[in-house]
Every structure is written in structure tokens, then in C-alpha cells.
Subunit: 505 residues, 2 copies
Amino acid sequence: MGSLPEIRSEGTLIKPLDPEEFRKQGHLVIDFLADYYKNVDKYPVRSQVEPGYLKTRLPDSAPTNPEPIEEILRDVQKDIVPGLTHWQSPNYFAYFPSSGSIAGFLGEMLSTGFNVVGFNWMSSPAATELESIVMDWLGKMLQLPSEFLFSGGGGGVLQGTTCEAILCTMVAARDQMLRKIGRENINKLVVYGSDQTHSALQKAAQIAGINPDNFRAVSTSRDTAFGLTAEALRAQIESDVESGLVPLFLCATIGTTSSTAVDPLTPLCAVAKELGIWVHVDAAYAGSACICPEYRHFLDGVENADSFSFNAHKWFLTTLDCCCLWVKNPSALVKALSTYPEYLRNKASDTKQVIDYKDWQITLSRRFRSLKLWLVLRSYGVANLRKFLRSHIKMAKNFQGLIGTDKRFEVVVPRNFATVCFRISPIEIGGNQQMNVSKEEATNNVNAKLLEIINESGKIYMTHAVVGGVYVMRFAVGASLTENRHVNLAWNIVQEHANALLNTL
Amino acid sequence: MGSLPEIRSEGTLIKPLDPEEFRKQGHLVIDFLADYYKNVDKYPVRSQVEPGYLKTRLPDSAPTNPEPIEEILRDVQKDIVPGLTHWQSPNYFAYFPSSGSIAGFLGEMLSTGFNVVGFNWMSSPAATELESIVMDWLGKMLQLPSEFLFSGGGGGVLQGTTCEAILCTMVAARDQMLRKIGRENINKLVVYGSDQTHSALQKAAQIAGINPDNFRAVSTSRDTAFGLTAEALRAQIESDVESGLVPLFLCATIGTTSSTAVDPLTPLCAVAKELGIWVHVDAAYAGSACICPEYRHFLDGVENADSFSFNAHKWFLTTLDCCCLWVKNPSALVKALSTYPEYLRNKASDTKQVIDYKDWQITLSRRFRSLKLWLVLRSYGVANLRKFLRSHIKMAKNFQGLIGTDKRFEVVVPRNFATVCFRISPIEIGGNQQMNVSKEEATNNVNAKLLEIINESGKIYMTHAVVGGVYVMRFAVGASLTENRHVNLAWNIVQEHANALLNTL
């Protein structure tokens, strides 16, 4: 290989954690971000760049020599910010929110600053213990039955996202079942959701090796506001059992992605429990609202489920990523996900008196996420958090009211939380281009067109869904900077673009 | 539910992203962390708390009312810091490093501050495009064959950890194989590693639904410095094929966890390729060093592998988590991991001209991790990064030299990188308590005892491994604050405790 002295002599010895340099550069970036929040409402909400824009702006390879932070921040402003879709903009109403907050940000800073790898208790006891404590706090705020709390024999864990929560619980359920019926029957296992269930369920089933033929997206309809009915589930299960298949796992949703529909937990769990199906409750979006007593009824029946999760990074101010998962039977998780190689052996783990969270999740290494949750809960307090969530719901109600003032529009499904699904109502549309499509298709096309021109304007950003064949615009309130005036403005923008569009038809 | 007016009236409406409050509190936490780095060498490296310590210090439930950040930071100092194992201490030599840096920290701040959810291109084009660009930069630094780069038809993606990288590639390999041989043969698939391979492989196989009977940890020995030999692999594969099984996946390691052993890629790939086995190269720890030309030879043969990954959060200054994965055939990943529900449909994805990274990983939501990597590469430059990695290797060489000056100790396996595996050499030990154990067992016990008293001292922290039945202490240099003086001090501490211990025997 040779000693390559000409390369070895290059470069200076960096001090990557010099405290005073850290202080200086850290303050610079805090100011950069404070200014970003001050101006975020001025950017087009949905990025307006074209595919490949960044390749033309950046060099082909990494620099040999260091560049100063001031120059890098100028490039962030110049090259990165235009390529952002501004999820923190007060005019962001797309998908579901990704709710940032000062407390969540500070928690993330502390976690990144300590930079501990909390795979087991010993590797940083505070990381494990704070997580267990805060998950019990949060479980109590949600009035989860005590079987889900550590204090009642269950327990909570922070995952990155719902995809991981579903995958981990499905693997736990799968292995529990295979221990009973034999591994040779893996291709008989069936996973259930509705046609409204998040794609995370299908993806988890793919990863866990469930036969793709055995993934059931049971139909829902407008009659039940796109909630999964116990009758439909039972019919599907009975047909599967008759075919010699083995029902394994049901994912019920509180607040579906398309229309925030709610699956009725009590009757669904009753059906599932007859056959020993593991029930996971995915409240990724709507779980946050359930800390308000007047919304808690949406979780009624969770006491019969096996696991429950919600994303604190969606609508609970913790910043991405932070998914809260509780299980009644941690040992099922641990049996499926545990490994204990020699190089991780330690006295504390050997006693089995401590939690090693590596055995509750997919990865070994894990970040100290509970700091974020702890800071959010302490910085705001439960009363303010409830009030904040209610303010979003009130804004959504306001938007719904505004829709009601304009006969051209309709709300398509009942609003449960802070998301409104609406559209331009079916209309007769003239012109050649519409001659070969049905009225419903034409209406869908008009709504899709309207949404696109609204989003192209950059003034607000919404996304769409199709429920029961109906194309709807989704107006999801929840960005941390959104105030009622932004909602009123958004409605004006919708109307203006509708005026322009409908005039051209 | 009723309107619960007495609850509704509680709380004030918070402003979770007020820019000036963000600025004020952000500066406070930067100063808190700068002071932490200034004092981190004064804390016991391994936390000295007892299980359950935190429960006695924190309340049973979340506060109703907000608490000021100053009070929260006082509690972080008082209650959390004592429960940390200080991975950023210059006296941290345990496991592998979790290397923090100013640039990595600032990148994480920007990512958290923007808080975009980059599941597809449209959701924030900059997040996708910067990742592709930086992965090509890094691939070139590692001299990966062009087939692994976007510019050559392959591509790179940032995962959280190696566990995810292995799981994703295994699922891609599994589905590719099942499409050929039929899903009914899933229980015949066999996964290969060595007895030194990281537990991530076994865990990935468990999650992916591989029959646990078909997980092969092929034996290694001291003769080959615990590298997996092509002969041993071939013998195992031939025996499996004879039994009607189907070889699927091989994980070869560059720098094993126990002793930084290196599996020889060229002969291993030759064996694997005969049978169409997917070869993943896990260079989680040692990949970083391979940006230095004089260490690149450890990757020779990677051109015949299917995928390659290393953890930039281990020894490449990006803070947890940041695992870099490259694949030659992205479409195999995408086929296994893709979902495309209506609510995510968009024009850009429909054109298939953009990358939607959600289809390259387990989860849908993903953080803007490439900012960290970009900031590290630009802030330090390639020349300084090489020099920095070499400085750690030089410190490890120094430690090895110090061991050589003390006849009571020995280096157990050849040092490849910046980790030294050593022990007190086998000795005759008197005393009743040793009468019923072999010399080798007694030596292991003495070394375990020595490691425990060293770690209890809090002055340095090392961890152990057992290779070929030999208990070794692992001295892993790589914490960002470590200088040669800390290594010299560490050796003094080892000697002092050895003096004390050996005197009692």
C-alpha cells in the first residue's frame, strides 16, 4: 500500500467538540432558525423547484478543505430553503402536521448533544428510565388502562414512527402464533385492516414475511363514515378460517389518513378476541386529541386491544421522530426481538431487573427521544396542551363553517378532529373535454385541478384523498404557527381559485 | 361527552414556535451544552446510578401547568446527567464511539428546525436531492465501484442504523428469491454470517420471517484472526444445499464488534456468487477508516457484493443516527418496500423521474439526515477527516505499544483500526477459590474482575468481548474529545488497578 506521505501530511487536526467553538457556531444556527421561523410564512409553502434542481447547484464531490459555517449557512439559505416544503409554515395544511415546538427542539438538542446510545439500561440509565417514566405519564394522560402501563405490568416504548410500531407488534404476534401452530404454517397467517388503514400495515406485513395474498383491506363505505364494521371483519375472518387460513393481526385506526375515520374498537376487539387475533390500535394522528376528556371516547374499547400507538411528532409538538407505543405484554415483544450477544452482556441486564429497550424495537442503537417528550410535557403542561389541541379543532370548525357559507362546496365526511375533507359539489360541466366522463368523474377532475392550482400558487398547501370514489381536498389544521387568521385567509384563497377555475369551464 | 367547561377554561394558549422565545431558549441550551463539553471529563464515564434511581426523583404524573426552561435545565443537570454514561467523554473507550461534532450537531439542529417529513421527493425536494448527492460524494471518497453510485445505476440512502440496512437488504433479497422459487419455500431460505457477525443479522432474520433453524453463524478461529473463511462458508452452503435448503443472504463484516476482524470479501463473494446469494458488506465501524487510501484495501472485493453500509454516527462525526447504505440494484429494494397509497400520489412520483426514499427503507416518515453529513463533509473537508481518523489509529497504536512495555499483559488479536483487544496474560493463580477452574478460565475471571473495578472507578470506561473463548478488554479510541494524553492516562489507570488486583490474588 505504501505510506502515501503526500496525503498523510495534508489537513490540520480538527477539534470537533471544542466547547467555545461549539458555543459560537451553535448561537449562529439558533439565530438562523429563529429568523427562519420569523419569515417562514413568506416562502411558497410547497416547494416550487423542479426535479434535479440541486445537482446543478452543488459540486460533484466533497471538498478537500474545510469551509466556514457562515458560508455553509448562506448556501443553506440559497440552495436548501427553496427546495423545502415548509411544514412549519402557518399556511401548511397538507397531509398531517409535523408539529415543531421550542420544547421539542430543545429536547432534541439535548439528546443530540449528549449523543448517548441507549440500547440497554447500562449504556445510559437515564435514557431508559426517563422513557419508562414519561410513557407512564402519557399513558395516564390518555387514560389508558393500567395493563398498558409499567405500573400495571405492561409498558411503553418510543419508536421512530408508526411503521416501526406496527412491524414490531406484528412480529411479536407472528412469533407467538407460530410457536403455537408451527413455523411451517407461516404462509397461512392473515393480517387485517380496512381499505382506509395506513399503508404502514401493508408494508409491515411485507417486511414480516406475511404472504401478500393474505393481506386483507376490508371494504368500508360512506354509510359508516369509512369506519371498519365488526360485521365486515367477521365475514372476512370466517371466510379465511373456512379456507384453512389463520387470522393473526388486526390494525384498527383512530383517525385514518384519508378522512380521519374512526374504527369502533369495542365491537372489533370482540370479534378479534374470539380467535385470539392481536389487535393493534393505530391512533397516529388522533391520539393526541384523546388527552382531552371530551375526545377520549374515541379510544373506548382500547382496553381489549393488545397494543396502542400514536405519533407525538404529528400533533404533539415533539418534532420528528417520536412514536409512542404501549403493549400489554412486553414479553411477547422481547421474545420476538431480543438478542443478547456476549459483547453486550452486563451485570444489570443479567439481573433482569432493568429494561433493555433494544429488545422492544427493530434496531439496537437508539436515541434519547424521551427528553423531547419530557420537555414538551413540562414546558407546556397538560392544561395548555389540551387548550392548544382544542384551538386547532376550533379552527377546523371555523373552516367547516366557512365552507357552509358557499353553496358551491360541500364537506364530504363528518369532521372528527382538526381535518376537514371537502370539495366542489357535483356540478354539470359543459365543454367538449368533459363529454365522455360521468358527472362524478368530472367533479373529481375539477377538484383535482382546483387543488393543483391552489398548491401551485404557493400561498397554502393542502393534499388530497379519494374516499368511496370521491376526490376530496384535505384541510388539516395543526402546524404550530397556524392561527385563525391563516384559516380565514386559506378559505379566501380557495374561493379565489375556485372562482377563476369555474369561470373557465 | 358533555362540554366540561371547567376543564376547557384552564390553560393559556401557548405559542410553541415564537421566534424570539425560540432564540432566547435556544441560546440557553447551547450554553448548557457548551458547558457540558467543558466539564464532561469530570464525570464518572460509566454512570454510577442504581436501577430505579430516577423514579424516586421525578413525580408520578405530568405537570398540569408549565415550568420554566431554567428549572428544567437545572433538573437535567441534577437528575439526568448523573444517569448518563458519557459517550462524549475523552475517557470513553467502550463499545465503539458515538462520535459527536459541532458540524453534526448543527446539521441535526437544521434538520430538527425545518422538521420536514421527507417521505417522497415532493414532500421536500431538498431532502431527497441532498441525500442522493451526498451519498455519491461519500461513495467516491470510499472509492466504491460506480455501480453503487447513482451516477452508475445504483444508489445510496441514509438509514438510521445498520440493523435497518441489513433488514431492508435481506427483505429485498428474500422477495427476489421467493419470486423465483415460490413463496411456499420461505422456510428453506438460509442466512449466513460468522460467529463474529453483529447480532443485527440475527435480528433482521428474525424480523424478516427467516426460519430460525436456518440462521448460520459459521465458526471462525484465532488462526484467521476471527475472519470468516471462504472454505468454511462453502462447506456450510454445500451441506445446506444437500439438505434441500436455499442459500439466500451473506453478511460479511469489515471490522467486527468483538475484535474488529475483517472478512475477506473477494473469496467470500466468489463462493456466494456461484449460488446467487445476496452479499451485504457491513462496515459499520471500520468503513470510516476506508476513506484513507492506506486502509481502502480492506474493502477490496466489495465490487462483487450487492450492498454495503457503514455507520457515520460511529466514527464519522455525524451524531446518532446516520447509517449510509449503498445498493447496486435499487429496484430490488423498491420492489420489496414500496407502497403507493392514493393520499401520497403526486405528479412528480407519477413521472418516476424522482426518488421517493420511503421505498428504500422500513418507515414512511424520515428525517432530513443528509444535512448532518453535508455539514460534516463541508465543515472539516476530506483531508482533515482523514487526518482525524488517522490520529485515533495512532493513539490506538500508542496504547498497543504501552501494553508491550508490561509483560503481564498481551494484545490478543492483531489491531486493524483504532480498537485494541488485550488482557492480562494467562498466569498461575494461587488461592482456594481458583482450585476448580482451568488456567484459561481463571485468566478470564481475573480479566473480567479487572475490567469491572476499572469501570467502577469511573475514570475510564471500556467494555469486553469473548473471542475464541478468551475474555478480552476492548480499548476503542474514537471519542471526539480524546487526545493522546487521555490514552496515556488510561494505560496508567489500567496498570494501577491491575497492580491492586494482582496483589490480592
